[in-house]
Symmetry: C2
DNA sequence: ACTAGTGTTATATGTATATAGTACACTAGT
DNA sequence: ACTAGTGTACTATATACATATAACACTAGT
């Protein structure tokens, strides 16, 4: 995985795992790879991976059982809320950013329509 | 100015100044506030502000004259390219992010239309 | 009991960022 | 010449992040 140098790696990994949960790559209640395996997969130190996991647990997105492993939350509301929250953040960042550049809503609409080729 | 804790302050200040240039708040060739004044305005250390400025100069967006001050580039192509680059980055981040959440182009279109209330 | 595989914690090191404080180099106005 | 206001550079300190390395705590299977 390619990491952006300006944002902490553990946050980028969290984002990636959240996406996998939202898109169903990781199903509700499913066991995720061990911290050590994930650290190897993302080519990252165990401590960094551990930080990403404990932060995901703190946010209620995964839960862990010592000696056993970590699992995606079984709560479907958590997954739905996660998707909603992440898309809302993307929309706000995009619209707010474009407005900050001086585009009004109708211009933004035209630009995004062109970009999507619809 | 409120700073995001996850991204370096000097980058956020650079972004703010770029936006001011793109939107014409800072005109081509116009003199910008001194490093010390900007540091006070953004409530940031002089060294941090200096870093933002020297980086902006490195990118050709402003130029400085020792003992006199810093000025927005006079090149209109620079400003136009800056706007293009910044909006392209926003679009790519938004569309890429939404696709990463599992939305296809037509869904993204519907969502953004609703968000823009058009 | 033992072992392998889990999560978890701790110490030490290096780098990037932000700060405080000081000093230097240059320019314009007096 | 002097002074005030520019940009610029340096040292030192503190914090966050990422790494290497080691150890501890718990669980399941043998």
């Amino acid at each position: 995985m390619n990491f952006n140098t300006t944002v902490p790696i553990y946050l980028q990994i969290m984002d990636r795992i959240k996406k996998d949960i939202v898109t169903g790559v990781l199903a509700r209640g499913e066991r995720i790879d061990s911290v050590r395996a994930l650290a190897a997969k993302f080519e990252v130190n165990i401590n960094t991976m551990q930080r990403a996991c404990s932060e995901l647990e703190r946010q209620g997105i995964i839960f862990t059982q010592r000696g056993i492993g970590s699992f995606v939350s079984k709560d479907e509301n958590v997954v739905a809320a996660l998707k909603e929250e992440m898309s809302a953040k993307l929309i706000e960042g995009f619209v707010g950013g474009m407005e900050g550049l001086g585009y009004d809503k109708s211009e933004i609409f035209k630009i995004i329509r062109k970009a999507l080729a619809i």
